[in-house]
Amino acid sequence: MTSRIPEAGVRIPADVTRIVVLEGPEDKTFFSALAEQLGINDQLHFITCNGKDCLGSTLENILNDGNFHGIQQIGIICDNDFPDSRDGRGALETVQDEIDEANNAIDESLKTTRKLPRPRKPRETEGTKPKVSVLLLPDDHRDGMLENLVLDAIGEDNITNCVDAYYACLESQAQVKLQKAREPRSRLSVYISGKIVDKTYATNDDSRRWFLTQAVDMKWWKDEKMWDKPQFKPAKAFLRQLLKP
């Protein structure tokens, strides 16, 4: 019989009052970098849940946590990427379901003192203590993910034209059947690859940076003032909103 030795667990420190729940480590890196830009990183505590399907378990853990009573705001950030799942329900409905699931799952004895409110609209806070709000990516209405938002911010430049041509070539010449759900992440990686070989921008450190999580540290990201792009305004507003009393 073997025994697993647990690693240091996920925890909510006693002084944390604002929590941001994200789907994966890439989202966490991106949004904590954004929070750093805003100078509010130390006021937010980021927790990943490894996909929306595990959001309910994560919220249940938050409800059961010893520091739950100290939490004033919870912001949930997730991709708007699967309208067909859950009987055609969208991401907001999925989040609402996961919140209900967490509220129902905790022990009966806790239900009078521990409950998460159910946001009715994206980016609007619900409830009192804690307040809960949801940010959908790339935005409230479009299917997609964080990478779509970043691609929007990049806009159109010389490299994006080449990326478009590359995917067109994949389809027409190589007969590759593109999976739409994977395309944004793939496109962004290809775009970043283009930046890596650009003598104008790339530093030695950048040559090992391939993914979105690493892109935010690259020279071109800073030189092109990516954080100032208007496409990130709603995300910035969402993080700032979490600090309101």
Partner: protein
């Protein structure tokens, strides 16, 4: 079997209600959140009137509570605690201690109905009319001593008469009354080993019920070298001893803490059919590689003999091992994890109970659940 328990005005608890109790309950929480106090309160509620448990203020200072060696009075316990207020929350003896439980019947329990049972503890005022009558139970003739005496009354609904405990000048004496109990129970302390005599006595009953082979096989979980156990007559008394391949059998007292505690828990449970066992800091002495198997054994025994288990722990490994053992055996429904937290707003202790879903969510995401 306890389904819920409420404790008011006892030690650190203002008013704590713990619900959804399982067959096996693991209680965690930061220091001074009342883990041991909760076990003590429940132990009292079962009907045990062990004065040492009630008065324990410092587990390390065991000698404080040793039987008084000068008087040789078996009912006299030294207890330099300054009187009964220490047992009451914030020394408030004006309010009684109220221990109330909802129970469902355990087979052969004296009280077979689903019911709510209360045990109340109060200090009898020397002004009260029945104070002198109560003093009669103790046969104390020194009136100077009586001036500083204080009586604690433990009044259980299931008892024919209340138990009276007389505290006088650092000594406690219990009234010699015949009391009932709700459930048979045993308390395994964190800082003290079960006595050699008690171990021998518990083993005798296991041997009598022809479970020697089972006991040896169970002990091998923690000490694989044990091939036999026996009661040996040593210095005028029977001592439980083990064959671990040495030239002679070794008294259990010479084996390690983990083996002794595990043996104590197993033997106590074996003698507690339809009863309740309380184990403080259950992880002490048990290596991480055998913790899951230890839980499996405890779970099996609890189910087989209908014993309810309440244990405290600080160890995440031990919680993980319990989760693994109970989920592997497809009986997570029998296991409950409770954490005691200081509630920042109410200034009281709050309990968070993890049901099957909660413990599964926490364990599978590696969430810190010890507070």
């Amino acid at each position: 079997m306890y389904k819920s328990f409420r404790v008011k005005n006892f030690r650190c608890f203002k008013d704590l209600q713990i619900n959804d109790l399982g067959r096996v309950n693991l209680i965690a929480g930061k220091n001074n959140t009342g883990k041991t106090a909760l076990l003590e309160a429940m132990y009292l509620h079962t009907g045990n009137r062990d004065v040492k448990t009630l008065l324990r203020t410092d587990r390390a200072a065991h000698s404080l509570f040793a039987r008084d060696s000068v008087s040789r009075d078996p009912d006299l316990v030294s207890a330099d605690i300054g009187g009964w207020p220490i047992v009451f929350r914030d020394f408030n003896i004006a309010d009684e201690i109220d221990l109330t439980a909802d129970t469902v019947p355990m087979q052969q329990s004296l009280f077979g109905l689903n019911e709510t049972t209360s045990v109340k503890l109060s200090v009898k005022s020397s002004e009260s009319e029945d104070y002198v009558v109560a003093l009669d139970h103790f046969n104390v003739e020194d009136f100077d001593l009586l001036k500083s005496a204080a009586i604690l009354e433990i009044d259980a609904e299931y008892d024919r008469q209340p138990t009276l405990l007389l505290y006088v000048q650092g000594k406690v004496r219990a009234s010699r009354l015949r009391n009932s109990s709700l459930y048979s129970s045993e308390f395994v302390f964190a800082m003290e080993r079960i006595s050699s005599r008690r171990l021998a006595s518990l083993y005798s009953r296991v041997r009598q019920s022809n479970r020697k082979i089972w006991f040896i096989e169970t002990l091998r979980v923690v000490e694989p070298r044990i091939s036999d156990v026996d009661l040996l007559f040593v210095d005028g008394r029977l001592v439980l001893s083990a064959d671990i391949g040495l030239s002679q059998l070794l008294p259990f007292t010479s084996l390690g803490d983990g083996t002794n505690r595990f043996a104590s828990v197993i033997l106590a449970m074996s003698n507690l059919a339809h009863g309740v066992i309380f184990v403080d800091e259950i992880e002490i002495g048990l290596h991480h590689t055998i913790q899951q198997e230890a839980w499996k054994t405890i779970g099996d025994l609890a189910q087989e003999l209908n014993v309810q288990v309440f244990a405290t722990t600080h160890s995440l490994e031990f919680v993980q091992a319990a989760y693994d053992a109970f989920s592997e055996g497809n009986r997570l429904d029998q296991f409950r994890y409770h954490r005691l937290d200081h509630h920042p707003e109410f200034g009281d202790i709050e309990v968070v109970t993890y049901n099957e879903s909660g413990i599964e969510a926490a364990m599978t995401t590696n969430w810190e659940i010890r507070g």
